[in-house]
Amino acid sequence: MTSTTSDPATVLPYPGAEHPPREYDLDANGVRIAVHEWGNEADPPLMLVHGGFDFARTFDRFAPLLADAGWRVVAWDHRGHGDSEHAHLYSWDADMRDALAVFDHVTPGAPAPVVGHSKGGALMTQLADAQPHRFTHLVNMDGIPFTRRVPDVAEHERTKMMAKDLAGWLDHRRRIVDAQRKPGTIDELAARRGRMNPRLDTEWLQRLVTVGAYESDDGWRWKIDPSMRFGGFGPWRPEWTLMRMPGLSMPFLGIMGAEMEEMGWGTPPHKVLPYMPAHGRTEVLDDVGHFVHIEQPEHVSGLVLDFLGNAS
């Protein structure tokens, strides 16, 4: 299958960020999924799962810190995101099945520690409930929905509907046949993303453009499938993720940013704490937003590594 990964020569530098030394594609039931790995291939695997409207290379700063501690860090681009294929269809269940294709390739028949951010954390919390035998540990980084509408889940479902929301979503579906992402310069795309990620520095956002977008004749465009958009609706209730947490059997670490922001899930920490599983705890980081691992990579990786223990 064809790889579409970014040319390292065009990627802007950022202190501590590292290009993944191994990148390859997997066939996930007919959909090409791009996998990115940091660390020694012979080290024990650690699965790292990105959020909605994000991509695996957003771990370029965080993943090397985990790899340096002796982990083979494996992240993949969800279908339609990053370097993975733009699929016919998108859904929560499809993301879950794609994830299992990666698990089966990387760590067949054996459990592994899993770290998920935002939607990736919610996906993995549900998978840990459905298939606990695949997990030794679960870390959920600011991916515990409560009652607020989920901002970064494009095709997942929502309950509270307004007629205009429904019509708006359907109007979008009518227009997506020839849709393209809006082109711009690196600075323009970085500024656009900065509106959703206001706490991340410009230098980081500019680097993200050079790994998460592609350059064409009229400028840079984000790689994410233009058929996807924020919003959506459906029967799913965000608090249902929370309901699964008390029953989790594996050690669990929640890491939440105390600062609420646009792409965050608006979950008040005091609402989460009563749902901790028997072997679980949650760390709340003051003056940190939704992207805990980008804002404080050393501190958050330290929490994760301390929680996981020795890689060997």
């Binding site: 996930a28 039931n29 007919g30 959909v31 279908r79 733009h86 699929a87 016919h88 269809l89 998108y90 859904s91 269940d93 499809a94 879950m96 099945r97 794609d98 299992l100 294709a101 998978l127 409930d129 459905a130 298939q131 095709e155 479902e157 309950t159 509907m161 007629a163 429904l166 019509a167 359907l170 579906r173 009518r174 997506i176 046949v177 058929s227 959506g232 609706f233 459906g234 029967p235 799913w236 209730r237 249902w240 309901m243 699964r244």
Partner: protein, 228 residues
């Protein structure tokens, strides 16, 4: 069996949808009747006998992964995707004119889609008829530990992923009834939804109890929406 008059290909994102024109209108001013099939089914090849008295065109849509529509790779079906399919058909049948309307009749899963379309495009759906058929029940009404597996596909419709994913889509009753309320708020009809099924799963039982829903037969519903 008689073949459809013609089959129109519509685009919904990366999917091509087959819209079968089964019978021409006998009255050019009458609304089209859109038929939505059940889970694992496909459109009929000719207008069903029960549509005989309908003066508008009789048209039937193959949902994504069904009949002559695209077989996607890797699944990813939701009931809301099928609502998008049905809305693409609505746009085609009304030439994108928001002043024009259709009536929709759905079997099983198609009944659920018909209800959603009636809520989402309330001013353009002049009655939705919900009848028995495969996929009427849907899935659970709350969180479960339902698991995920790869399926063998053979390149033919119906897509096994559609059969699995759309047989277990979440259908909380209050979610279903929200579409009734949207339909009632935006429709010119006092009763824009007709429940004509014998089987009443939890969501449909709740729908049938809502203001704005008539509990009737298929024939009576057609007559009501034809003349109303």
């Amino acid at each position: 069996m008689t073949a459809a008059l013609r089959t129109e290909t519509l685009r919904h994102g990366k999917v091509e949808l087959a819209l079968h024109h089964l019978r021409a209108a006998t009255d050019d001013t009458a609304r089209p009747l859109l038929l939505l099939h059940g889970l694992g089914e496909q459109s009929p090849t000719e207008a069903p006998e029960w549509t005989r008295g309908w003066p508008g065109a009789i048209v039937a849509l193959d949902f994504t992964g069904h009949g002559a529509s695209t077989l996607p790779r890797g699944g990813g079906y939701t009931a809301e995707l099928l609502l998008g399919d049905a809305d693409i058909a609505l746009a085609a049948l009304t030439d994108g004119d928001p002043e024009r309307s259709i009536t929709v009749a759905g079997r099983g899963l198609g009944a659920y889609t018909a209800l959603q379309l009636a809520g989402a495009r309330a001013s353009q759906v002049h009655g939705a008829i919900l009848t028995d058929g495969p996929g009427l029940a849907g899935g659970p009404t709350g969180p479960t530990s339902t698991s995920y597996f790869s399926l063998a596909t053979n390149g033919q419709t119906p897509d096994p992923y559609a059969l699995v994913e759309l047989s277990r889509d979440l259908r909380p009753p209050d979610y279903a009834t929200s579409f009734v309320r949207l339909a009632l708020a935006g429709s010119e009809l006092d009763e824009p939804v007709a429940v004509a099924s014998m089987f009443r799963p939890e969501w449909l039982n709740a729908v049938a109890g809502e203001h704005g829903v008539i509990d009737t037969t298929l024939g009576e519903a057609l007559e009501l929406f034809r003349t109303g």
